[in-house]
Symmetry: C2
Subunit: 290 residues, 2 copies
């Protein structure tokens, strides 16, 4: 089964369970809306690619891990779009959850998706308790405090921002989770896979800065110029478009070089290049060829 | 060690880990503020009391479960107080988290506490993977969708409310989690303990309705008359003060009768009576003697 099908099936299955029985209908619909149709599903794709590079001997565990990670990502988008944060009216080319439903339902949808992510992994513990426990610890570390995406968002409320900690947690954390969890799901040591995730996360941040600077709102599917508006650090502001594109190429080369020696090494390098093509806007050729 | 000391120590330990290293300071402070000083810690007290009635052979697991449950409860209070829900300025006699810090930090504090709750249990999986997995599944079921406190809050956005599902999930869910998780933590079957949790939850709901109707804001430590304001179902509105007090006595008697036969049965019945005294306002003597 192709990766995208595995990912969509795993997410649908989790959401279906959350909507079962006597569930409130609006919140059920909001969970669907927040998770499908998805974006590029980059994080679970990386997770499954790493799991396959490591042998993917327990595809059920890998699928659960991939869906859990994407559910956390979706939750973070729903909460980040709230009026008190980005106040974004559109996301993935359609109204954001609080605009399509309501602010209470957006808060609750985010909360429910976080819980669901851990529930998906907890249920996997019946068949493989050791891997499930490590997956949950890794996901929690990269989601909550002190170093996960909650911490990353939290840095934006600080009078003085630790830029390294900010980027590592805000954008990097779920990419690190992707490579760590892919390795864990296939019974491998996550330590060797952390650099790959961190570098992909860094590349994604620079690519996002380029997109934010160069594309219009319709193409982007969300409001542009948000970093400048919220005074957030931005690679284009610091290095210019050419400088940021060059930086992106360097990071991606580093990411590919960081892949640990494993049977699926070549396939994984191909996936990283393909992911790069998807995330990089049509700007200077140096980035596109990375 | 007395129960309260065990509970406070477990919560402090979890929060300390979430604040470790390079964490953003404001969000760190918000986590502390949202969890200490706590309220009556009723849910973790019930959890530990059930665990002790079941032998409490793994107190480390019980303590982790108790802190995880209380963290979820604290998270729910922080999010419920948000302007888009109850818009409450005070909680436990001090400014609510979004008033003391900010709305973004309140959303993030709630999110981080949810993640932390599952992280606490996941870390317990190293020593007892089977119990940890069951604890996480139980906690997720009673927190998220379709039947947890998120679902309960979600019912308030429905045009037509299923009152039974609403009460069971909104107030009952975390009390059911308390008795289930207490049993699981001590290696017992949670099925026999579900009724006790459900009945304590029902009693708590009626007691809360009485408090909401009878006490002033200073004594209550939160705004009064919220149910009437938000058009929520309320036992006093339905049965009157005397009727609701009588109902409360009956439920508590049923709760004590539902305690499964176990070595700590008598102690547990005493705890339920003591809890009832704590939650019941100084109103008709029928309730106080329950």
């Amino acid at each position: 089964m192709p990766l995208t099908e595995r990912i969509e099936a795993a997410i649908s299955c989790a959401i279906a369970r959350a909507r079962a029985g006597r569930a409130p209908r609006q919140l059920s619909a909001a969970l669907d809306y927040a998770t499908a149709p998805g974006g590029a599903r980059i994080r679970p794709t990386i997770l499954l690619s790493v799991a396959m590079a490591c042998g993917d001997d327990r595809p059920d565990v890998s699928d659960a891990a991939a869906s859990a990670l994407e559910l956390i990502h979706c939750a973070s988008l729903v909460h980040d779009d709230l009026p008190c944060f980005d106040d974004a009216d559109i996301r993935r080319g359609k109204p954001s959850v609080h605009r399509a439903f309501s602010e209470p339902l957006a808060v609750l949808a985010g909360d429910s998706l976080i819980v669901l992510a851990f529930e998906v992994l907890a249920r996997q513990a019946i068949t493989d308790p050791a891997r499930a426990a490590r997956l949950m610890t890794a996901l929690a570390e990269r989601t909550g405090m002190p170093g996960g995406i909650c911490a990353g968002q939290g840095w934006e409320s600080e009078p003085e921002v630790d830029l390294a900690a900010y980027h590592r947690s805000k954008t990097g954390a779920l990419f690190i989770a992707a490579t760590e969890m892919g390795a864990i799901a296939a019974g491998h040591d996550p330590d060797n896979w952390r650099d790959l995730g961190a570098l992909i996360g860094e590349a994604f941040q620079v690519a996002d800065d380029l997109r934010d600077a160069l594309l219009d709102e319709t193409t982007l599917g969300k409001p542009v110029g948000q970093d400048a508006l919220h005074g957030r650090p931005n690679a284009v502001a610091k290095l210019g478009v050419d400088g940021a594109s060059k930086r992106l190429s360097d990071i991606l080369a580093g990411a590919i070089a960081s892949i640990p020696s494993c049977p699926g090494e070549a396939d994984l390098a191909r996936m990283v290049r393909k992911t790069a093509e998807r995330i990089v806007p049509n700007v200077p050729a140096t980035a596109g060829r990375a």
